[in-house]
Symmetry: C2
Subunit: 383 residues, 2 copies
Amino acid sequence: MNPRLDISTLSRRVDAVRRSMARASVDTLLVTHLPNIQYLTGFAGTAGALVLSHDDCVLIVDSRYVTAARDLAAGLPDALLSVRPVAHSYDETVRDVIAATAAAPVGFEAAHLTVARFNALRALLSPDPAAESTGQVDRNGRLVPTEGVVERVRMVKDDGEIAVFREAALRLSEIARRLPELARPGQTEREVAHAIEDAMRRSGFSRPAFDTIVASGRNSALPHASPTDRVIQSGDPTVLDFGGVYGGYCVDLTRTVQLGGFSAEIAPIFAAVAEAQRAAIDTVGPGRRPSEVDAAARSVLERHGLGEAFGHGTGHGLGLEIHEAPRVGRPMPGQPDEPLEPGVVITIEPGAYVPGLGGVRIEDDVLVTTDGCEVLTDVPTFL
Amino acid sequence: MNPRLDISTLSRRVDAVRRSMARASVDTLLVTHLPNIQYLTGFAGTAGALVLSHDDCVLIVDSRYVTAARDLAAGLPDALLSVRPVAHSYDETVRDVIAATAAAPVGFEAAHLTVARFNALRALLSPDPAAESTGQVDRNGRLVPTEGVVERVRMVKDDGEIAVFREAALRLSEIARRLPELARPGQTEREVAHAIEDAMRRSGFSRPAFDTIVASGRNSALPHASPTDRVIQSGDPTVLDFGGVYGGYCVDLTRTVQLGGFSAEIAPIFAAVAEAQRAAIDTVGPGRRPSEVDAAARSVLERHGLGEAFGHGTGHGLGLEIHEAPRVGRPMPGQPDEPLEPGVVITIEPGAYVPGLGGVRIEDDVLVTTDGCEVLTDVPTFL
């Protein structure tokens, strides 16, 4: 469980989400995505629902979490947080809270609510079997799909969050600088992954933010390889991609090492990826679209004949989740590509992968500032 | 990435899911839930989609995973596995594969597909803006919600899976027997959680199956507490709930220890929970409903005046996921409660929690056999 959020942070976040709700034309928002609930309440359990309206912010939790949730809400006004224990089931209690709130339209999080749960909730809220839903807008005007109402607010980090990111990135960087000693030839990929995860725990991370990637030799050509029992050989290019959760927030870093120096085949790939990463970082700033940042990296790799070898996006937002808004990639129809704002934290992680030969990825975490960006991680590109 | 599944295992699983599809009256199934994809292909990436029809089993993956996926499919007939790389986006490629398959109705996994993605897919499959969906059945008969088509097959483990479970439970039990030495007074809850997770890694688990729970003293009254910096005191009741992923499969175990013996307040709670757990285990067998198993534990706790103190269910299925079918709890409207079959693996984990005093939970993993059950974990109840 996270520490309690102070009342000014909570009220700033809740107010910002209420404004975001108004822009989405909903009077009530049913929040089912757990990181969004955590952002708005501090509650970090494995189940819960939140019903946010103009006057109330009701956290619905089952018996396992009632005591913890009440501790979070103690002393707070109902407009910021109150707790409602689940009576029979989550959905029935959500129905009861929404019925009591009675401020339609009620938005739900379409990117997180499953079709099965939507149908169950719709049936509970509109017990008339003749009532029909389009999956777009409920006929009774009760359930309206929304996307990113809380995520758009979460995208811009507040000062407290930025302080946590700086500390987390510093701690992750200290581990990254030790990679040449952690990833010695003769060890298996799996052993190196465990050593990195141990180092993160010792450094104060509560857990890895994702399964650590240690991909050596030809495995390095697989961008999302899982560590194997392969023994790392001297001269192997080795991609090490790891991250941890610190104070609730995720940081993420990749370096590619080749002990004894890069071979003649890998060296030009390394140089091109490093140049692409530098170009992308130089592009980050307020008002720049994520797709422009991606294009900066991509055009460098294309110039080096490595366009096809770079199959993934340039980066992603970081926060309570390891992958959050914004997506830093090629423009895609229907996908947001809003200009960056100060306070946004993203990864910059271009790569190039040549099957049968190997791959290189280099990743840092950057904070968008008022006049450009600050690279939060602090590790030499070439280790 | 998991090792390749042998062809007889793959073909048994794919055939069983095809029969399950027939019972659900769908000719094609779009599988988007990653553990279901892993079960049917061995593919364990972080993104992917599978389109399963009578004649084809098409795994759709993005560029990060194409090489790994092709390795899995090498030498297999199309009816068992073929790979289709994502062209522009997952959903467009899913649309293309479904259009080529053309065997409607196409089922989707309603418990896993979000409303947003359903709407996007529906729009791609029925570009006519006048076409309208109910969220129940697509007007064009293309997309039909299904629930549990793959999960019902996964619920009954095959011999290879049972062998992995036995080994995993043995390894977890060895760690559990060392709990009194791992959870010594003077350490913080967090330190103990890390020691347990380290022990799991050293024992061959690839990762913890969930965030380890170490809840000491009054914290033990919180069934899902996160480890804190609280120093464990001599005489604290301490709930230790941990599990790991071994060979892809999740095992889960809880013991409650009180160093120096249980106090006069906790001892009767411990005895009641132990009795409830024994009663539940004695009820497990083929033909028994999960709700009967739950009732066996619940009635013991009620008899001891602890009915209100047992707020959660008695257990859950284990497999590729830490929580899977069946749910072992009170009967709930609309929730399956099918009789247990040999090969099902579940946890039995009743508990009782008294705010301000403390709590007790005891958990083992059991396999339903032809004439009762086999307790896979092997650890004294009282450590």
